[in-house]
């Protein structure tokens, strides 16, 4: 992978979970398609994925990396604050 030894690649087909589809849609909307305001670029998505510590990168699934990177980008751009994010996460944890 990326020019480093990584063993054999085993391709498998799988369905996407609902949350994965939502993360994909979120990225498209934030990229400014269909007249929406452009709030991030694919390059920022990649930059913040590359910034993940290697153990986190290995542990996360594809869309877990995406949602982590999107969140980081929104904080960097000031679209959301860590304060708002923390409160929302706590609120969601209380749901059934």
């Amino acid at each position: 992978m990326g020019g480093l030894p990584a063993g054999k690649v085993e391709p498998t087909e799988h369905d996407y979970e609902e949350w994965e589809r939502r993360v994909d849609a979120l990225m498209i909307l934030l990229s400014g398609v269909q007249g929406h305001k452009k709030l991030m670029t694919v390059d920022e998505l990649r930059k913040n994925i590359e910034a993940l510590p290697s153990d986190a990168y290995e542990r996360m699934s594809y869309y877990e990396r995406w949602v982590t990177s999107i969140t980081q980008t929104m904080i960097q751009r000031g679209v959301i604050t860590t304060e708002e994010l923390g409160r929302k996460m706590a609120e969601i944890e209380k749901r059934d």
């Binding site: 990326g2 020019g3 670029t41 390059d43 920022e44 990649r46 930059k47 590359e50 960097q76 751009r77």
Partner: protein, 93 residues
């Protein structure tokens, strides 16, 4: 937009440098020589776009063809095998 400096068939070398930041030029291809296969167009500079800047002026992007045996010293495959990588102009010399 920056004007293309290379054309298909030109011999090019990828700059061998390792700055920090978001860079689309793979590590494994830096320092290697290849041949321009085609000009892909011109696009915003991803190194700038990743840092919340405009990415302008657009940089020409090339598809560059490398010989696998030149890239991977222990390569066991066919001597004719090639590797194609899309590389922005500012990474080529």
């Amino acid at each position: 937009m920056i004007e293309p400096r290379f054309k298909p068939g030109d011999q090019v070398r990828v700059r061998k440098t390792y700055p920090l930041g978001h860079i689309r030029t793979p590590f494994y291809i830096r320092g290697h020589s290849g041949v321009v296969e085609r000009i892909c167009g011109a696009f915003g500079n991803p190194e700038e776009l990743a840092q919340m800047r405009s990415g302008e002026p657009r940089q020409p992007l090339y598809r560059v063809r490398f010989r696998q045996q030149e890239v991977w010293p222990a390569y066991q495959g066919n001597a004719e095998d090639v590797l194609e990588v899309e590389i922005f102009q500012h990474w080529l010399e």
